[in-house]
């Protein structure tokens, strides 16, 4: 039995209706590596991580990144970085980012400087 489709391209492939892949579980090494893609919109801008591509080599990752992430809109440059080269924190360690409340003096938002600036501006206009 071949797969019958309304799409003539699929019929031309003459695919067996019984999938030979049914019991064929992919192993870890059957997958391509992932690459993180960094996109730069304008010269001088930071490259921003926009997602991943799967690829068998660095160069191939760049080929794919161009079409995945730079097909539309403005782009001047792309980087790809093999994900295994990214050293990341563990989500279990998220607590190291928490700050105790009494250290509000370390946070610029803790200073009510805007009131003083507004008052100063107002005094300048009045003069």
């Amino acid at each position: 039995m071949k797969i019958q489709s309304l799409d003539p391209r699929v019929n031309r492939l003459a695919l067996d209706a019984e999938s030979p892949y049914e019991n064929n579980v992919l192993q870890q090494e059957d997958h391509f590596q992932t690459y993180q893609v960094f996109h730069q919109k304008k010269r001088g801008d930071k490259h921003i991580c926009v997602g991943i591509v799967h690829a068998p080599s660095d160069e191939m990752a760049l080929v794919f990144a161009k079409e995945q992430f730079a097909r539309r809109g403005e782009t001047v440059n792309l980087w790809v970085v093999n994900t295994r080269h990214v050293l990341a924190m563990d989500y279990d360690d998220t607590d190291i980012f928490s700050t105790t409340t009494e250290k509000i003096y370390r946070d610029p938002a803790g200073y009510k400087v805007n009131d003083k600036i507004d008052a100063y501006k107002k005094s300048q206009i009045d003069v």
Binding site: V53, H54, P56, M60, V63
Partner: protein, 257 residues
């Protein structure tokens, strides 16, 4: 600006290459949704779409500057005898090895041709060539990366398949350089280098790349170039492609899209 004989040769030349791009673009779009991996599916489909865009660019010059019918009519209302595409582009997609090798051999030829047109004396063509330069650069980058990957980094099977694809596609690809009538008029007018010179530039370039990747060039003297396309002689594959491609358009050619 050109005499009538040169103008006729110019029209034929642009029609030839517009047809090549339209038919190959259509063929390669048959991989959409069926590509080997998602990323490649998107890349190859996008390249196929670019090809149709380049065909449109050429048909538009024929329409706007040289009095031919509008691009849709020219693309969708002719039968196979009136198409001047080479036989290379009409062959079915085959396996991915065949399609990749065809893409590689075609796009290197396209790059050489458009680079030459960018400097040509016919300004509408020169302008188009400058506009599509970046797209063709990507097509070549894509083709080179794939063929190199499979020929040098893959396994024994991928290397063997690249070699046999090269052996199979190379004689067909020589059809890209089948000369048209009055070609010398275009050489004189500074529009074309002539097909023989183009083929030589192409051959030397791809020979350097392919042999660097461990592939062996087929013996030029032993191969039979697939000529005929430039004079309307095609294989049995073109008419079914045209039937499928034009099926919707021909339901109502006057429909507004």
């Amino acid at each position: 600006m050109f005499d009538s004989q040169t103008t006729a040769a110019l029209k034929k030349m642009m029609l030839v290459h517009a047809d090549d791009h339209l038919i190959l673009g259509h063929r390669n779009s048959e991989w959409t949704g069926l590509g080997p991996i998602l990323e490649e599916d998107i890349a190859f489909s996008s390249i196929a779409q670019d090809k149709i865009g380049h065909a449109l660019g050429l048909y538009s010059i024929l329409h706007e500057h040289l009095g031919e019918a509008d691009p849709d009519t020219v693309a969708f209302m002719r039968n196979e005898k009136e198409f001047y595409s080479c036989q290379l582009v009409e062959y079915p997609i085959g396996g991915y090895d065949f399609s990749l090798m065809r893409h590689f051999l075609f796009d290197h030829a396209a790059q050489i041709r458009f680079d030459h047109w960018a400097l040509s004396s016919y300004e509408p063509l020169a302008k188009l060539a400058r506009k599509v330069k970046g797209e063709i650069k990507y097509h070549v980058f894509h083709a080179d990366t794939w063929v190199k990957q499979l020929a040098t980094e893959g396994n024994v099977e991928s290397k063997a398949r690249m070699q046999s694809a090269l052996n199979e596609v190379f004689p067909l690809a020589l059809g890209l350089f089948e000369a048209c009538e009055d070609e010398e008029m275009l050489v004189k007018a500074g529009i074309s280098k002539g097909e023989k010179a183009m083929q030589e530039l192409w051959y030397n370039h791809i020979e350097g790349l392919l042999s660097g990747w461990g592939l062996t060039m087929p013996d030029m003297k032993a191969v039979q170039p697939a000529f005929g396309g430039r004079h309307g002689y095609h294989t049995e594959h073109l008419q079914p492609l045209l039937d499928e491609m034009t099926e919707v358009f021909r339901v109502d050619p006057s429909a507004e899209w």
